[in-house]
């Protein structure tokens, strides 16, 4: 507030607005390096390691989508497993009809996005808590309907055809790259969406729904958009799941455990930031791998940690980092620089910029 009051008194040209407090060029280059290094991993590490990372990709994609729902749009869905299952089954159905499961990935994304429309029409009639259980009932209903079709394996599911042509090493690598691509696209899409106009509306809803409504934000439309994007994202994650498991089982893909995992990872990492789910997924994977031999214990511990964080540290682990370092890997907001202070720029970048900003004749 005081910053705004201070700056309005100054001449307009002395105030600079940037996306980030730090230089974006470095974080952008960093992200590129991370993706490239990740893409090279199948040449470096054993296939057991990449299989574990694929699980991480699935959880990260799911968590990022759940973060969009709960963290920004205020929609607590406990029925996102509906889309995980639908995505997996779309891949299965296309594979039965001869399409390569990898080529089916974009179809699964679009199909789940489209399927989200009628589902939204149904569940959006209910508010907050009842919305949550309605999504759950819807997921259970979809599973029960799919189990009716014996052509896709009925109640027991079936192995995914169309992958027998690959050698196991190659298949693991392809699955890994598919997972990496899906996660990268999902994160990039969320980042671009939150930087743009929808992001402004969503951030307003996140901070105060009533205020957002009264200032003319189209809350309903923004929520529909988020529900569709989250549906498409979770569906694609489900498609990757089907490929990595090599089979589709209705009880497994429609399990509420998926929603538990995505919700816990998001809450632990930090609700309402893009970085939160990434950090949360890392915590999730570490816990899951270390406690793998103790069955469901990792989920119990994750649940307890998530409850504690929801009660006492609402912004999660990333919130703690942000508080101390003012660090944003994905700057979606704006930072106001009062006159005199200069936003940081690398020398290379500033030289480029100054060349672009030649004074007009």
């Amino acid at each position: 507030m005081s910053l705004v009051a201070e700056t309005t008194a100054r001449p307009a040209e002395t105030v600079r607005v940037t996306r980030s407090r730090r230089n974006v060029a470095w974080t952008g280059a960093g992200a590129l390096i991370v993706v490239v290094v990740m893409a090279l991993l199948p040449y470096i590490v054993y296939s057991g390691t990449t299989s574990i990372i694929v699980q991480g990709f699935i959880v990260l994609t799911l968590a990022s989508m759940w973060n969009l729902l709960a963290g920004y749009a205020g929609l607590v869905s406990v029925g996102q497993q509906a889309f995980v299952g639908l995505g997996a089954y779309l891949v299965l159905i296309l594979a039965i009809h001869g399409t390569s499961p990898f080529a089916a990935l974009p179809v699964a994304a679009i199909g789940c996005g489209v399927a989200a429309l009628p589902m939204w029409w149904l569940v959006s009639r209910l508010r907050s808590g009842y919305f949550a259980i309605a999504t759950w009932v819807l997921a259970a209903t979809i599973m029960l309907i799919i189990e009716k079709f014996s052509s896709v394996g009925g109640g027991t599911g079936m192995p995914l055809p169309g992958l027998s042509g690959f050698s196991s090493v190659l298949l693991t690598a392809y699955t890994y790259w598919a997972g990496l691509a899906v996660t990268t696209v999902a994160l990039a899409a969320i980042y671009l969406m939150l930087r743009g106009r929808p992001g402004l509306v969503l951030t307003a809803i996140r901070d105060d729904e009533v205020a957002a409504r009264s200032s003319g934000a189209r809350v309903g439309l923004a929520r529909l958009l988020v529900f569709v994007v989250a549906g498409a994202g979770c569906g694609t994650a489900g498609a990757v799941l089907a490929i990595s498991q090599l089979q589709v089982n209705p009880g497994a893909v429609f399990s509420v455990q998926w929603t538990a995992e995505m919700a816990f990872a998001t809450i632990i990492g930090g609700l309402g930031t893009i970085e939160g789910p990434i950090l949360g997924t890392a915590v999730y994977m570490i816990l899951q791998q270390t406690l793998a031999s103790y069955n469901a214990w990792y989920l119990i511990i994750l649940g307890l940690v998530a409850i504690a964080i929801a009660l006492w540290s609402r912004r999660g682990l990333w919130g703690l980092i942000d508080e101390h370092l003012h660090l944003r890997l994905f700057p979606v907001g704006y930072w106001l620089w009062p006159g005199g202070e200069k936003p940081p720029q690398s020398r290379l970048l500033s030289r480029l910029l100054s060349r672009l900003r030649r004074p007009r004749p």
Partner: protein, 291 residues
């Protein structure tokens, strides 16, 4: 005749669903809490009853007298600590905390008691027996007892909320907790009492479910919570008698679905739920009554 039998069975199981649903409805009506751990708490009550019976060898019916008060106290304590803490931080936190609780309870039960399903064996002829009407209709005593208990519980709740001093306090707090606080009512305590009542009804329902069918760690979410919720929505949000109507409609739909094909039982119930959501989102009883 088979269809008449299906409808009668459906109406009677509706009593059980109403018993599940009224606690959910009460907690939402009074403190705007949608308790996603509702079903798992019913399973906890059922497991507690099994534990008490195995350890002490007391008659089955005595387990109610032990487990229901224990669950009521648990409800009060949970409300005053975890749920109130979440409520103070907003709706989102309440949902996250109760969902977390649900997953923790379910996996905890799985860890300690395995995924095997268990039933509460009664051994009483009155409970396991049945009587015949005509040649094809067979009605179990247990279902009749459960239905009667559900009606008594709903009548009791109705009387308690409308006539007793505490009931008036609960309604006052549900309407406007700040105003009630100004008038000298400690709303946190009143919330605790309401949660205790809700937990007592869910304990009752959980033990009955263990006698009627079988309990496993996942019963709480994939059956009880979803059925209770469907009953609440079909009957109409916030209506106490609506939960009975909703439970009966759900039960009848399931039994008719099962009559067509046994695998359709659960699906038929959900389809009726979705149809109500589309055609009449305010529920079958739109008039707001108690709580």
């Amino acid at each position: 005749m088979a269809w008449v039998n299906a409808i009668i069975q459906g109406v009677l199981t509706g009593g059980l669903y109403a018993l599940f649903a009224c606690g959910l409805s009460l907690m939402f009506g009074v403190m705007k809490v949608v308790n996603l751990a509702h079903g798992d708490l019913a399973v906890v009550a059922g497991y507690l009853a099994i534990g008490v019976i195995t350890v002490t060898h007391i008659p089955v019916l005595w387990s109610f007298i032990i487990v229901v008060p224990v669950m009521a106290v648990l409800g009060y304590v949970l409300q005053r600590t975890l749920i109130q803490g979440a409520l103070d931080r907003g709706v989102l936190t309440t949902l996250i905390v109760t969902f977390g609780l649900s997953i923790v309870i379910e996996n905890g039960l799985l860890q300690f008691f395995t995924a095997n399903s268990r039933a509460i064996g009664t051994g009483l002829p009155l409970v396991s027996g049945s009587f015949k009407v005509g040649s094809q209709i067979q009605i179990g005593y247990l279902l009749v007892i459960i239905f009667a208990v559900a009606v008594v519980v709903l009548l009791g709740l109705q009387y308690f909320l409308s006539a007793s001093k505490y009931g008036r306090l609960i309604r006052a707090v549900a309407d406007d907790k700040e105003a009630a606080q100004l008038a000298g009512a400690d709303y946190r305590h009143v919330f605790g009492i309401a949660a205790a009542i809700a937990f007592a009804t869910v304990a009752l329902a959980g033990i009955f479910y263990g006698m009627y069918s079988q309990l496993s760690p996942t019963t709480g979410t994939d059956t009880i919570l979803l059925f209770a919720f469907a009953a609440v929505v079909i009957g109409g949000l916030g209506s106490l008698w609506g939960t009975l109507l909703g439970g009966v409609v759900l039960g009848v739909a399931q039994q008719i679905g099962a009559q067509i094909n046994i695998s359709n039982e659960v699906l038929a119930g959900y389809i009726v739920f979705l149809a109500v959501l589309v055609l009449r989102p305010q529920g079958l009883t739109s008039r707001r009554t108690q709580s």
